[in-house]
Symmetry: C2
Subunit: 83 residues, 2 copies
Amino acid sequence: MTEFTATVTVRLKRGVLDPEAETTKQALERLGFELSALRSADRFELDLEAEDAASAEARADEMAERLLANPTIHDYDVAVAQR
Amino acid sequence: MTEFTATVTVRLKRGVLDPEAETTKQALERLGFELSALRSADRFELDLEAEDAASAEARADEMAERLLANPTIHDYDVAVAQR
């Protein structure tokens, strides 16, 4: 078994309103910063043991499907690196 | 001016308690997943215009310092890509 870190990034689907990101953007603009858009996402770093990178990625993917992301409103991607 | 996307990842410093991550880890374990650690982070994707990548990165860095991260409890890193 090898140790891997799987990084799951969960973002809102395009078209889903993100009032927190909008508020953060406005706060930055009030501080004088110029930006055309701000998107927020959640990032989970999972340390796990697996036979190989493919099986680590499959497990992280299942965790995203079942708990970390809500498929109605979220997209996610998974990246795996050996530790 | 060129369009850049700066990605700011904000994570808790080592040693700062993260009860939300701990709860998420326990929920995954109750679903039958095995993992040795889970860390959560916030990710902000900022679309902005700048002369070059270095100045885009400097501005994203300043936004992180002033608003996106709390230097007492957070570390952050900035990555810039041309759009």
